[in-house]
Assembly symmetry: C2
Homo-oligomer: 318 residues x 2
Amino acid sequence: MPERGTILSVVHNCNNVRDLKDDIACEIMYKFFVNNIWVGVVSKKDAHLIQDVSDAQKIPPLVISSIKKTITFSNWCDTRKKRSDAMATVLLQLREANTCEPLSKWRNELYLVGGDTSVSDGVFFELERAAAEVFGVRTFGVHVNGITVSNAGKVCMWVGRRSLSKQKWPGMLDQIAAGGIGNGVGVWDSMIKECDEEANIPSKISQKAKYAGTIQYFTRTEVGMQPETQFVFDLVLPEKFVPTPKDGEVDTFYLWTLDEVIDKIKQNQFKPNCAMCIVDFLIRHGNLTPENEPDYLEIIDNLHCSFEFPAPRSFTAV
Amino acid sequence: MPERGTILSVVHNCNNVRDLKDDIACEIMYKFFVNNIWVGVVSKKDAHLIQDVSDAQKIPPLVISSIKKTITFSNWCDTRKKRSDAMATVLLQLREANTCEPLSKWRNELYLVGGDTSVSDGVFFELERAAAEVFGVRTFGVHVNGITVSNAGKVCMWVGRRSLSKQKWPGMLDQIAAGGIGNGVGVWDSMIKECDEEANIPSKISQKAKYAGTIQYFTRTEVGMQPETQFVFDLVLPEKFVPTPKDGEVDTFYLWTLDEVIDKIKQNQFKPNCAMCIVDFLIRHGNLTPENEPDYLEIIDNLHCSFEFPAPRSFTAV
């Protein structure tokens, strides 16, 4: 275990799944397949809850095998629409039963589950966002590092404090803007949308953001599994621009030096994946180096976890 | 297989080891352990060549197990010095026997093999550079993206053509400067040294280089295995500065637009790991995006391969 308060402990805190193979071997986790493609992992407990609801349908849409330790769609769910509709029915009933905690945070937002090589966008089906961690499917989002650069080259970073009313991670520190990619909104448009909604950044400014790659990590929460990919953007803001909360997701914005930001990261004040995104920024811009950070190589490994699960080929068409 | 001429085909060409587990299962590859830590892979053919030379010593320093499919040091090789000396003796004799092709390209340069948690620098032993791919141990290097930025913000990149007399990849395109980290030279000092030796860049310029993370890939060549980590630097050069060959490793330097560089990458004119390093640059600086590059996510995965083999904790002390 890395020492508490180190950068490595913070990235381990987010990329915290090390024992998936063991959990599958011990039958704590079931593999979720669509058309023989492995797309996610479901806890044994949730697999049984899901199966109870599925079996109560006239024609059950899902099949759980306690011999193979798998969950799959029934053969009749053979199109994107049939899978999406069947899944929606199951999840709504499961939500009403109030037995599966993540579904109490229903979002009314659809995520795409990829892996279908027979269609151009690679999408198998759509899934209510709150259920993504129940099925342990890959999810995708955008994270924006909002910075200012003085004439002398000094970099400061805008940091948001999440509203206390947020469903997840209330009160913790966050990027200037970030959010999941769902509902058929593409990557770039998701970034523009989140900049507007979370920080009141007009598109004439946000469209100056630059793609800077991705971070990728596998998080286990108390209730589920999250193999996530975040598309990362750096956005240099005019020094006079001040972001303001708009949709109520953020309470306050702070403009801090990178040293102040690093201190807060080490104090675990950031939502874990936001800390990851800033650590990636610090690596890409040469603030963390092999000379000042003994865990340099291991930190980078943790920013780029690899998954066996496929991704959709496109996020734009639902 | 990705289509020829795509960026993905180029990164796959470098990160080309997909079947290591199968090769180990089929006994084509033997695992190389030091003190029960897995540090590399050796082909069955080379393992037998090495063993023949080891067994000819008065006290054999290496043990090959055809039951366990492993190669290890003998118990008496229990210090860094004993392991390094014993390995040097074996390799010099193997080189004289002229049976192991990589050793014909002897470099007189020592690489560090890491994984020893009982010492502060984590180093198990030193190994002649030419033998690194025979033992399939992790190696480390520096790669420098040398660029110019016009007042209007237009970025061009300096590219070197490797000398026809280079032992490896003669005549192919290369970074402005790059090289392996060996002989107790640290990461930063290796970068300064390569900039001077390969491109005649004075240290007052090269010390303005910025760390930009790492790329990591596992390459199988005709003769061996290379799990490599490259520390990546971006160096903005004065527009009037012209790099010139100094140590004969480079024949000519070209200053190209990024579009010209991308064309040469797709034409497979770059040494594979140099192409990887530029692709990483294009990802980090937003030239490749999910909108203009359909293989965006898979390309990034291939730039950040993960290894089970440990790294040294320090490169500076031999």
